[in-house]
Amino acid sequence: MQYERQNPAFYALLAALIFMSVGPILLMFVNSFKLDVDIIGGRTGLLFLPTIRNYETALCDVLWYEPDHLDFCSLKFGGAFINSLIIALASTVITLVIGCMAAYALVRFRFMGRDTISLSTLMVRMVPPAVLLVPVFGLWNNEFCIDKATMVGGWIRDTFGGRGDVCLAGTHSGIILVYVAMNLPFVIWILQSFIVQVPRSLEEAARVDGAGPFQVFFKIVLPLIKPGLAAAAIFTFRIAWNEYLLASALSDRNTKTVPILIVNNMSEFNVEWGVIMATGMLLAIPPIIFTLFASRQIITGMTAGAVKG
């Protein structure tokens, strides 16, 4: 492939653009290794003694040693990190499995109600999380409960104690359920555009050879739409990992995710910039890693999602 030569001004512009898009992230990265004194002191240069103290403060509840600059571990970041990981991974896996089955059915079969489902899937894509806040809060706390009057509720109360009703709010599953539902429309939409491209003759050949519908799906279709799956997985993970509002409404003390922790620490009067930056960096690292390794899939997914309209 032949590359064109460009004039120097063009490269200068490129450098400026790269600096603008990556600069703030780098700034946060650098600051997360500074002491608060250095950050507030206003020496913006790179001349400072890097320290991992901020990360120690943030992760104090999962460290195997006790950092000597801390008397008391107030920031339970490690636990929140694990919560975030559980919630994001579980919702990604569930969304993908369910979503790609649905997308396959929508593309390959003609059945009653297909158009309605397809249309409503597209429509609910635009629902913002803020709109779901009120009903989800109400339902998860009051309606989606195992009542203490029923057998199971009574058994849970006897075994684990508590007030009797067990509700979805405050559990990992409660948050996962919202995320799965929220991401499904988008995943179905993206995967549809990939499944359409799988040649029909391939599936028919497998059918002739005696494979059932599920075998055809798992052995023929799934391997062929891997790039689409990767893209859908990254987008789902990104949303589940980054989401704040619904998680803050549904989680309790033990199921807090990382974004909630960061927001809570931000709103306090005296912001400890170093620690906040370290927590922010920890939250940003998984998506950054994904982006660096799978940018091609992300871009394919983005264009497939938008162009299909």
Binding site: Y3, E4, Q6, L17, S21, V22, P24, I25, L27, M28, N31, I40, G42, T44, M101, A102, A105, R108, F111, I117, L122, M123, V124, R125, M126, V127, P128, P129, A130, V131, L132, L133, V134, V136, G138, N142, L177, V180, M182, L184, P185, W241, N242, Y244, L245, I262, V263, M266, I276, G280, A284, P287, T291, S295, I298, I299, M302, T303, A306, G309
Partner: protein, 302 residues
């Protein structure tokens, strides 16, 4: 016989899990919200105990200056942000649509901002906008200027800048993809006829990209109404109501003022607004498809 029933049931079996989950956790809550918006409902009571008040919540909101203010903030934010991002993104795409080494690295670096959590974006920018410690003001001061009160007097502008930083790459990537899939023949013909670079852009590239650009812009517009965390972390809606978008107001009404009915009615207003936009998007894509088909038929007939 058994195989046949199995085959007939297959699509439903594939569809069932998704349909059930979406019904339980998406459609039912939406219905619940619409039901709740007609009630005087606070978080300590269940919805059955709340009192039916008809359209009262909607009417109160309609005449509530604070809600109107936040609606206008939301609209300003969304339209300014999308306009700025479209101009910048498409401009950059036109500029960078060249055959250069390392284009894929460039694209990877550009999509980094939008993969990062909104909460983190908010905190980065809140630090950079900080009146005394922040990057921008230390820079301005070291050049001898006065510092700017970013998140105070210019809060909405600052929030808009942060969002433009995060989402311009989205438009850029999609516009670039559209550019690179343009028919080469049209561009070559223009070049042979002696069209300048500007003429090529205005008369050929932009019109051909238009269908993709419209859909991209509408998608981005719908997303701009969903923005919440960035603003929450940067300004918490303040100072005053200057950056309180509707999404933020919903969450405050529900948690601080404890008026779930009003918050539900507010959500419904927002939903109707978005529904309008989505329907517009559908109509436009349908129209475009129809036009493309007609054009194709005409070419065949000729």
């Amino acid at each position: 016989m058994r195989a046949q029933t199995l085959n007939r049931a297959t699509p439903y079996m594939f569809m069932a899990p998704a349909a059930i989950i979406m019904a339980i956790a998406l459609l039912y809550p939406l219905g619940y919200m619409i039901y709740g918006s007609f009630r005087d409902w606070n978080p300590s009571q269940s919805i059955g105990e709340s009192e039916f008040v008809g359209l009262k919540n909607y009417i109160t909101l309609f005449f509530d200056p604070a809600f109107r203010e936040s609606l206008s903030v939301t609209l300003t934010f969304a339209f300014v942000v999308v306009a700025a991002e479209m101009v910048l993104g498409v401009g950059l795409a036109l500029l960078l649509d060249r055959n250069i080494r390392g284009m894929s690295v460039l694209r990877t670096l550009f999509i980094l901002p939008m993969m990062i959590a909104p909460v983190v974006v908010g905190l980065m920018w809140r630090y950079m906008y900080h009146p005394t410690v922040g990057t921008f003001n230390t820079m301005l001061k070291s050049w001898g200027f006065d510092g700017i009160d970013w998140l105070g007097q210019n809060a909405l502008l600052s929030v808009i800048i942060a969002d433009v930083w995060q989402w311009t790459p989205f438009i850029f990537i999609l516009a670039l993809a559209a550019l690179q899939s343009l028919p080469r023949s049209a561009l070559e013909a223009a070049r042979i006829d002696g069209a300048t670079a500007w003429q090529q852009i205005i008369h050929i590239k932009l019109p051909l990209m238009m269908p993709v650009l419209i859909v991209t812009g509408l998608l981005r517009l719908i997303d701009a109404f969903k923005v919440l965390e960035v603003i929450l972390v940067m300004t918490e809606g303040g100072p005053g109501l200057s950056t309180e978008i509707v999404a933020l107001r919903i969450s405050r009404t529900a948690t601080e003022f404890r008026e779930l009915g009003v918050a539900a009615a507010m959500s419904n207003y927002l939903l109707m607004l978005l529904l309008l936009l989505t329907v517009a998007m559908f109509a436009i894509t349908r129209l475009q498809e129809a036009r493309a088909q007609r054009a194709a038929r005409q070419i065949q007939e000729d």
